[in-house]
């Protein structure tokens, strides 16, 4: 019980906006794929 409470406290102290991180990572992936697609189309034989 004590351990669970400790964990909850440490999790509640974490003020990081994880949703923003996750969306940011997905957008970064999409941008990379778009760039790779652009390069591919540029050089398709």
């Amino acid at each position: 019980m004590e351990e669970q409470a400790e964990n909850k406290i440490s999790e509640s102290k974490d003020t990081t906006n994880w949703k923003a991180w996750y969306w940011g990572l997905m957008i970064f992936l999409a941008v990379q794929i778009a760039i790779y697609l652009f390069i591919t189309n540029l050089y398709t034989i």
Binding site: S10, D14, W18, Q32, Y36, L37, I39, T40, Y43, I45
Partner: protein, 559 residues
């Protein structure tokens, strides 16, 4: 190799080993040995995760892959960022809450001891074999090109890893991996600039990209939906997601890296770090390979890169000499065409096709003369460039890169194998003495034992013709099943231990059947799909068995 190369290589390797051993000399109990006292920050975790995944063969083989077949391999990693997010949301909080040493401990709490032992066993089999090959694969390339003794090279890599992994445990692995990764990336950047430097004066980076593009090396994305194709955007996003969920979420060699984090936040940040940097890093390594290809348009490459595979007498055969002289003529003609101000792209492509065809004819002829000839030589391309075009000192650094990569992934593997054997088998089934010192000693002895076994596998790997290929797909054969069991545990709350256990066994049988049917050419499947098939079979069979058990219980209680 010159004296300065030897100095750079030996200094780098010894410095890493001594640093890892010295910084972690105070390990006194099992927790600090296996989890590093939860003291790692996010950067160490992130670098450590990347270093565990990137083996020496990544840095030897990946540029060669771009040289031969373009940069499409980067698609393999497209599922990784999403896997990092899912692990961060679902897997990590549970591991932290339960304060587990190994991922498989959770399965006992969720299901029963059979499921825990089953998944831990699958991990030990796949990772135990892979650790040997992680040592063997770079050793065979280094020994071939540098004329080193293969056995001694295997012993050197394995021996150095054992020293600091045994003395410092998980923390030593993470700390050394941080520096190994720094050396690896520093070395690769230096190599990249020397590749560009090897171009003729009139050719810069943009012209280099243009040449690589005209010759088909810049086709990165393949949008066709074909189950037989290994690398397409779909196989990367879907099958890759399953593979990386399993590898990062359930493989102890990775789980152990982020379980050593100071806080849940540090571990999550470490995963985000990997999610952001992994694809650009792989792109960069592939791009180096594409630029090496451009460099070899102007600096004559050998017709085959694994020249030591056959003796000189064989290479003097008349038919081979004839093919090689034609190859040289085509090379010169193509070089002139590329340097001329206005040359038709089709002419260059035609000459490249001719050159490729002559290279293939040469390999086919070699295979006829020498049955033991290994025609796949793409793993030797990058190192051939390094040895011929890099200045002394940097050659030593690049060799240190390869050794560092081999050592970092092997260390992560040995550390995880010892942890799983100690926690999931020794303490669980044999003897839980409760004596911290004794447990620590057992854990250290098990690290040595796994290290020795890895070296033995590396030393005998040459006896098995297709072992490298086999171990490359070994992960996919077992990961699907392990992931399926974990997905049942996380998302199907009503599934019990018996259903999960039977589902796991079924899943493994189905994946093995698919693999053998593929090997014997009855069906055609890319090995990445084993991960999807294994996971889905475990989940489906698990649900069906649970429904059957529930029905039986209902009937029993009605009677």
């Amino acid at each position: 190799m010159s004296l300065i190369d030897w100095c750079v290589l030996l200094f780098t390797l010894l410095a890493i080993v001594l640093y890892g051993s010295w910084k972690t000399r105070k390990n006194k109990n099992l927790e600090s040995y296996l989890k590093g006292n939860n003291s790692e920050n996010w950067a160490t975790i992130g670098l450590s995760i990347m270093a565990t995944q990137a083996s020496a063969i990544t840095f030897l083989s990946t540029p060669g892959q771009a040289y031969e077949s373009g940069m499409g391999f980067v698609q393999f990693y497209f599922g990784l960022p999403l896997a990092m997010i899912l692990i961060s949301i679902f897997f990590l909080p549970i591991y932290y809450r339960l304060k587990v040493y190994t991922a498989y401990q959770y399965l006992e709490q969720r299901f029963d001891v059979r499921v825990r032992a089953f998944t831990a066993f699958l991990f030990l089999v796949s990772r135990g074999l892979a650790a040997g090959i992680t040592i063997y694969a770079p050793a065979i390339i280094l020994s071939t090109l540098l004329d080193w003794n293969l056995q001694l090279t295997c012993l050197l890599i394995g021996g150095l890893v054992i020293v600091y992994t045994v003395s410092g445990g998980s923390r030593a692995v993470s700390l050394t991996q941080k520096w190994q990764m720094t050396i690896i990336m520093g070395g690769m950047f230096a190599a990249f600039f020397y590749v560009l430097d090897s171009f003729p004066e009139t050719i810069g980076l943009s012209e280099g990209i243009d040449i690589a593009g005209k010759l088909g090396k810049m086709e990165i994305i393949d949008t066709t939906f074909d189950l037989k194709e290994k690398y397409t955007i779909w196989s990367g996003l879907i099958a890759g997601l399953f593979l990386f969920l399993s590898y990062f979420g359930t493989d102890q060699s990775q789980v152990q890296r982020y379980l050593g984090g100071k806080t849940l936040k540090a571990s999550r940040m470490g995963l985000m770090f990997n999610g952001i940097l992994k694809i650009p890093m792989q792109f960069f390594i592939l791009f180096i390979g594409a630029m090496v290809f451009v460099s070899f348009q102007f600096n004559k490459p050998p017709i085959i890169f694994n020249t030591s595979a056959t003796n000189i007498e064989t290479q003097k055969q008349e038919s081979l000499v004839l093919i090689e002289s034609n190859y040289n003529l085509v090379f010169e003609e193509k070089k002139e065409a590329l340097l001329a101000p206005k040359t038709d792209t089709k002419t260059i492509q035609f000459l490249q096709a001719q050159q490729d065809s002559l290279r293939n004819s040469y390999k086919a002829e070699m295979s006829k003369i020498d049955e033991g000839y290994e025609s796949k030589d793409s793993d030797y391309i990058f190192l051939t460039f390094v040895l011929n075009f890099l200045p002394h000192g940097l050659i030593g650094l690049l060799l240190a890169v390869i050794f560092s990569a081999a050592m970092s992934s092997t260390a992560g593997e040995l550390n995880a194998l010892a942890s799983t054997t100690t926690i999931d088998f020794y303490k669980k089934f044999w003897k839980d003495s409760g004596d911290e010192k004794k447990d620590l000693m057992v854990s250290k002895l098990l690290t040595v034992a796994w290290g020795v076994l890895a070296i033995i596998i590396a030393l005998t790997a040459g006896l098995f013709e297709n072992l490298i290929q086999l171990v490359n797909i070994l992960g996919s054969i077992f990961y699907g099943t392990i992931l399926g069991v974990f997905l049942l545990a996380f998302f199907f709350k009503r599934i019990g231990g018996t259903a999960a256990f039977i589902g796991g066994i079924f899943g493994q049988i189905v994946v093995l059947s698919c693999h053998f049917l593929t090997v014997y050419e009855v069906i055609e499947l890319g090995y990445l799909l084993y991960n999807v098939i294994g996971s889905l079979t475990v989940i489906t069979v698990g649900i069906i068995i649970q429904l059957f058990i529930n029905q039986k219980h209902k009937l029993g209680s009605n009677n």
